[in-house]
Amino acid sequence: MTLLSIRNLHASIGDKEILKGVNLEIGRGEVHSIMGPNGNGKSTLAGVIAGNNKYTVTQGEVIYKSKNILEMPVDVRAAEGIFLGFQYPVEIPGVSITNFMRTAVNEQRKYRGLDPLSAPQFMRLMEEKKKVVEMTASLANRSVNEGFSGGEKKKNEIFQMAMLDPELAILDETDSGLDIDALRIVATGVNKLRRPDNATVVITHYQRLLDYIVPDFVHVLYDGRIVKTGPKELALELETKGYDWIREELALGRAH
């Protein structure tokens, strides 16, 4: 069943067009990987789906759960079940992760017409979800991302994903800056959260992450378009051959 459907999406920053007609279908229970060279629009696509107003959508639509979400505010999209794992998570000094997540969980529950979780209910939920990413107690008491190492920040992103239990999770370069142990913890966390009714989009440069999170589909985003889609083996092919052959294929295609 289709969860997200992107049709002919064009988006720009200022005068610069970044996305030049993206088409993408994502179904429930699926894991998609979006790969491609730097600066070709991967993070822009993630930002546009989550609602970052840094980007202007000039054409096309993003249909999520049968609703066009482009006019929806960021926090409403989140409450509707969209989660973005950030490449560069922001530090919020003086606001503990516990308080931050309690606010987020309860604001989302309010949107869905549910009562807020009581303090003990919330603490139970938090203890349970901390295990997903092997998070230590001390981390949870610290201010959001303040003074965290690269690995701690990414673990914290997956912890937040576990707490918020999204239907569509987009992980933007979650593997960047991770050593092999942190990568394993983060990837294992993502796999634990996988269910038949949710979907995950993994944006990455490297095939390495896909050894742990096995995608159903691999897409290549190049020059603002998805130019190739294949099974998980496509990632291995990209790893060995690089992106030049795709450029050549595209050049040939245009020549014909």
Binding site: N53, K54, V74, D75, R77, V90, P93, A104, E107, L164
Partner: protein, 430 residues
């Protein structure tokens, strides 16, 4: 108008071109109804207020309507605390060599205070004493009539001694008042002084608050001033580094709204080599509030290997709020590391996006970011219970028109009622 008040009011026009004093216009707060305090202004009781810090023990001294109400005390460590008038009478050898000497001599408001002060506190910490409990100076105005006050405090900290001072300025009633208060801090070689100020005054109160610290070789001075409310408050701080290897940190946070005004002036005089100073002043201004920051770091010719950093950051919530900022370094040798800067701005868009992407509403996201903005200054308070208390007061100040604690993201440790939550800065306006 009372002739003494008039005499004070006449100082300002003479100084309007002086960079140091040009913003000191107290015309609005120096009204006809101000009078000098008399003996009849003693109050029956000093009720607990914002200065109370749960779970925190301090030796408390009270200055009420300009008079010292606390009895003379010498504790087991030899720390002497008493009223300044009494100290001048009984310990002139301790007081006179220091009186008025921590500041530059050409200071007209200090001169005025020197000749008109009613009382104040004198604290003497002998050499080599680590004062166990923090000392809390509580300055309260509640006479039920308009008062014009001049308080002069002197703190002498002996060689190698350590002391923590908490200084609260509070008003209990809504009568107008004006205070021109001086606190001198003399820190001898190797002494360490922490000085925290909390200001929570009502809108008819004016306060010109002078802090003069003179510190000797290897001594450290750390101050954090938090201004939560007040009609017109000026924190005028001067720190003289009189020996090598001193360490100075002077920070401030001001959260003001309505027609309030908060000015911060700081002068750091690097007269000796190998010293370090750091200043961080941050403010949030709502409604028609006005603020100024005037920071001056002077690095003299002989003060080589100086490190000096100065920063002022402001957030304006409305178009009518107004801030002027002037960070200034004056350096006379080339073996220094110095920086200064100021910003007047809005909240970071990408940080807002991050918070909202978790399903948190725009308004709550702004509240969280405003608190995070303040936290950088609160973080400098080394005393845990005091930091928590001030953090609570800042949270209450920031929660806007939101009245339900359960819906507030800031999670104070105590509910939002009582006098401290009478005014709100409203992030919804941003």
């Amino acid at each position: 108008m009372n002739p003494i008040v008039q005499q004070f009011k006449d100082i300002q026009p003479r100084l309007h071109k002086d960079e140091v004093w040009k913003n000191v216009d107290y015309t609005d707060t120096l009204g006809e109804d101000l009078a000098l305090p008399g003996t009849a202004d003693a109050c029956a009781e000093v009720s607990p207020h914002c200065c109370n810090i749960p779970g925190f023990e301090a030796d408390r001294m009270v200055i009420e309507n300009g008079c010292c109400r606390s009895p003379r005390r010498t504790d087991s460590q030899g720390v002497l605390t008493l009223g300044l008038r009494e100290a001048l009478r009984d310990f002139p050898q301790l007081v006179l060599p220091r009186f008025g000497t921590a500041a530059r001599a050409d200071n007209p408001y200090l001169q005025f205070n020197n000749s008109h002060y009613t009382d104040g506190l004198f604290i003497h910490v002998p050499d080599g004493v680590e004062v166990a409990k923090p000392l809390q100076l509580q300055s309260v105005v509640h006479a039920g009539r308009g008062l014009f006050l001049q308080i002069h405090n002197i703190v002498v900290v002996g060689k190698g001694s350590r002391v923590t001072l908490i200084h609260c300025d509070d008003t209990y009633d809504n009568a107008p008042s004006f205070s021109n208060n001086v606190t001198e801090i003399h820190a001898a070689e190797g002494a360490a002084v922490e000085y925290y100020k909390l200001q929570n005054l009502h809108n008819a109160a004016g306060l010109l608050n002078h802090t003069y610290a003179a510190i000797d070789e290897g001594a450290s001075f750390r101050s954090v001033a938090v201004t939560l409310n007040g009609g017109h408050i000026r924190n005028h701080t001067e720190v003289a580094l009189r020996g090598p290897r001193c360490d100075v940190q002077a920070h401030g946070l001001y959260l003001i709204d309505q027609d309030q005004q908060a000015d911060n002036y700081i002068f750091v005089d690097h007269a000796s080599p190998g010293c370090r100073s750091r200043e961080l002043f941050k403010g949030i201004l709502d409604d028609s509030a006005r603020g100024t920051f005037n920071g001056h770091v002077l690095v003299r010719e002989g003060a080589v290997k100086t490190e000096a950093y100065q920063s002022n950051k402001n957030i304006l919530l409305t178009d009518k709020a107004h801030v002027e900022t002037k960070p200034f370094l004056e350096i006379y040798n080339d073996d220094v590391k110095c920086s200064h800067g100021s910003t007047i701005g809005q909240l970071d868009e990408q940080a807002l996006f991050y918070i909202r992407s978790r399903g948190i509403s725009e308004r709550t996201a702004k509240t969280l970011l405003l608190y995070a903005f303040c936290d950088e200054v609160l973080h400098e308070i080394a005393l845990d219970p005091l930091r928590e208390r001030l953090s609570d007061l800042v949270k209450k100040r920031l929660h806007g028109e939101q009245t339900l604690c359960a819906e507030c993201a800031l999670r104070c440790s105590t509910p939002c009622n009582g006098p401290e939550a009478a005014f709100y800065i409203d992030p919804a306006k941003l």
